[in-house]
Structure formats: structure tokens, C-alpha cells
Symmetry: D2
Subunit: 144 residues, 4 copies
């Protein structure tokens, strides 16, 4: 397992936040958000983060780079429910030459509901690993 | 992180296997199965496993017990593609008084594609923790 | 088929609009949004519409009413792609004593991409039909 | 609306059947299968049907043809629930030079739960319409 971080439950440890609103389609018969629905929330926050740092994912992809997901981890602390406004806090946890790791904290009204980590590698459209862009390595350095 | 296991990539280490077939709806614009689609595969394998050990999840739920997901981890080793027949190997990795942990290996034609771990707690229909059924604790003991 | 409307492709025929942004998770291996992902867009627009008319769906449900989907229709005019900002235009197409019908138009930068219709009935938490609330019948009348 | 058929609720009117089993992930907070989850069931049945007639969709795609969805309609007659074994009955309803239409009936233990129709066009990998393969036109003729 490459996962190096145990994500903080303190929003102050995250430099970026993106709000999602729970869809009814994302709930399950337990009356709460299904555990698989969290990963698209993390992904949506990643995409919003890339926008915020001036490298929209659509233009990254247009340049021939995809961010493959190598590992994903979610801890479910307290349920999310239909219509919750969820703040997805995001931080670049670390980078290596070929991979980067993001940490997430999900809160509703400031109260922690979930944490997560995703590990990514840069690949070309055929799925072969490629070198990470310089701006991405710098985000990791800045985060350190 | 409660996750204790680093799941084996050797199918021989798993006592149960369930086959799923990749739906087109589960692919994404990278041409491979989206990373969030793996969690329902693991869930489907859990449900099939509970059938196999004589405790179908529908009857577990009818007795007032849900298996809340506390943590989930997936490692993506090689992509899955549309129409792949995926063998989801499953083992009970460990149990405590209140939680149990399952390990997974996904293979296609015997070749490892992904591993995963899920950690579960028993809850009542309102989400409150309840004692784990005896048969479930025994599955963990047998697995040890 | 109860569907009575052939939804207009002119945004001026719709009194409400809600924007969604395409998630990467919603794309498929054809590189476009999977056709099943449109229904949650329509649902999200319905929920936003109910907010806008002062009857949030969460409070409707708290009063013991669910809006069961009886029929759904989508016409796909032109593909949606990752990161598209999609304007979901919505109009109450008609109401009967027990059901109501919504029409939808999806546009990107003003250009039509899809139309849709959903037909709903009011049910209690056990799924039995119940009388439609007065405010909902009035929305239909106003729309007429 | 191109939809020409009002699908029969009699399984005898369908020449093909494919069984799916409801995943927990497909349920929603109403305790039933979410209405958007039906479209992947229809898709899975289409893929199984193409296998059965000797033209697996993966090989159709390898020959440069995708079956774009032009329209989709679902009528929800009675809910589906977690773990239901759903028989998806399928028939080729009609074909034109450029499109074909499939009708579906979903039953559980022989009891109708849903009907549906999908309309498809043949497109190349860039999404441009292409001529329908001969074997596909013949399936429609046989069905007529």
C-alpha cells in the first residue's frame, strides 16, 4: 500500500474546499449515501482543485495526460444523507517523481463525516506511465 | 486506519470467488472501468459470499442488522475493460467484537487486476452499532 | 404510456433552469456521458426546482410523501462530454389528481443536447399512492 | 419521439431473456431500486442478446461501430428491491435503415415490474452515423 497519510479531520489542514450536494440517486436502502458514491465526490473536488490552480483537467487531458487512480481509501465516520451540503476539503499530501497523493476531509456544517486518500499516476491515453508535469510536482513541494 | 491487511495477489489465499461481468455503464472516457465502479463489485461478491455461507444479506437485514461500511480501500493494478469477466476472490481477513474485515482480489483470466479491503460494523436500521452475530465471528475465527 | 408531451427545444418554454457540471465518473468508453447518467441530472434539477418554489424535497419527504417515478423518457440529441456545464431547463408539463409530469431541456452554451420527461405519483413511505399536495396541483395549473 | 412501441407485459412476446440480480448499490433511500439503475439493466440485457445472436458488442465495437442511444423510455410498474432476481425480456421491436428499436419487459417471479424501449443508431468511434450492419437489419426483419 502506497498510502502514506492518515488524513486529518481538521479543516484547517486543507488548503482547498469544494462543495457538493448529495443527490437522491446517491442514497441507498439504508437511507444514507452509498459508500461507492463518495469516490465521485473526491473526483469532483479534484477537478475543481485543478481549475483553481489554473490547470483544468480537460486541458490536462487535451495535452495527452490522464491521472490514473492507483489507490483509493475512504473512511466513513458518520453518514451523509440526501440533500446534505458536503464540503470536500482537499490537500496535496505528497508527490514522487511519478505519483501524487491527495488527502480529503468531508464535512457537513463543519462536522467531519469522512476522510479519504487517492494516489494517482500520470499516464498517456493508452495507459502508459508518463512523467508528471512540473506544475504538479511544485504543488506537492508547496504542500510539503 | 483500521485496515490491517495487505491483500494477497494469489487466488489460493482466498476461499471464495464470485464472477462479475463488466457493464458498459461502468466504463469511463479513459476506456476502462471507472475506479468508483469497483466498490459495487466488492459488494456484490460480499452478498454472494453471505449466500454461500447460508446467511443471505436480505435475511440478515430482515433480522434488523445492516453491515455498515467503515472503511474501504482499493488498489488498481491493471485496468478492467468492458465485457471483462472478473473473478472477485474474497476472504474474511479478521474480526473483532464489533467489526469484520474482508480482503479481495480481482482477476481476469487468472491475472491480478486489483486488490481491496473493506471494514464493516454491524448496525441496526437507525445506524446504531449492534453486537456481531455469532456465525459471523466464527467465520473470522475459521479464517484465522 | 402516460407521457403527453414532446418537450420543446426552446429554452424560452421553460420557467426554471439548474446548472450541473459533468463528472468524469459519468462518462463512458465512447468518451461521452453515459445515457443512464442523464436521469440523475433531471432529478437534481427537480430537487433544485422544489427548493425554488419553497417546498424542498427533504421537507416533502419529512411530511411523509415521496415522488415515485412512474415513467421516464430521454431523447439524446447531441452528446455531453466531461466538464460540460449543462443547463437543465424544467417546466411542469401537466398534473392530474394523482400524478404530475415534468419536461426538461438540456443545453450547453444554449445549444440543445437532450430533452426529457418524467411522470411522478405521490406515495407514502410504504409506496402506497397518496393525494397530491395542493401546492403541487397549483404549480401545474399555473404552468397550464 | 421516435418511440413506436408500447411494450407488452406478456413475456411470451419476447424472444430473449437475461437475468440480473439487484445490487445493494442500486437501491435508494425509498428502499427500492433507483429509477436510473434500470437503464444499465437494459444495457446488460442488450449485450447478452448480442452475444446470443453471435455478434458480441465488444467485437462490434472492435469493428468500429458503436450503438449510440438515441432515445430511452422506462415505465415503472412495481418496485424492484435489493437482491431481486430480475428477468429482462428483450425483443427487437423495429429497424429502419439507420436505427433500431428494442423493447424490454422486466419481471420478478413472472410478475411484471417494468417495461422499456431504447432506440439506437449506429455510429463510428467519432460519433458519426454509419450504416447498420446487415445482420442487425435481418434481426429486425425476423422480429417483424
Amino acid at each position: 500500500m502506497r498510502l502514506a497519510t492518515d488524513p486529518s479531520t481538521d479543516p484547517a489542514h486543507y488548503g482547498f474546499v469544494h462543495r457538493v450536494r448529495v443527490r437522491f440517486a446517491e442514497t441507498d436502502a439504508m437511507g444514507i449515501v452509498h459508500h461507492a458514491a463518495y469516490l465521485p465526490y473526491l473526483e469532483e473536488a479534484r477537478v475543481a482543485y485543478l481549475d483553481a490552480v489554473g490547470h483544468p483537467y480537460a486541458s490536462v487531458r487535451a495535452e495527452g495526460i490522464d491521472f490514473a487512480v492507483l489507490e483509493a481509501f475512504v473512511r466513513y465516520l458518520a453518514p451523509l444523507r440526501f440533500d446534505d451540503r458536503v464540503d470536500v476539503h482537499l490537500a496535496v499530501a505528497s508527490t514522487t517523481r511519478a505519483t501524487f497523493q491527495l488527502a480529503y476531509l468531508l464535512t457537513v456544517d463543519g462536522s467531519p463525516r469522512s476522510t479519504g486518500v487517492t494516489v494517482h499516476g500520470c499516464v498517456d491515453p493508452t495507459g502508459r506511465p508518463v512523467r508528471m508535469p512540473g506544475w504538479l510536482r511544485e504543488l506537492g513541494t508547496a504542500a510539503g
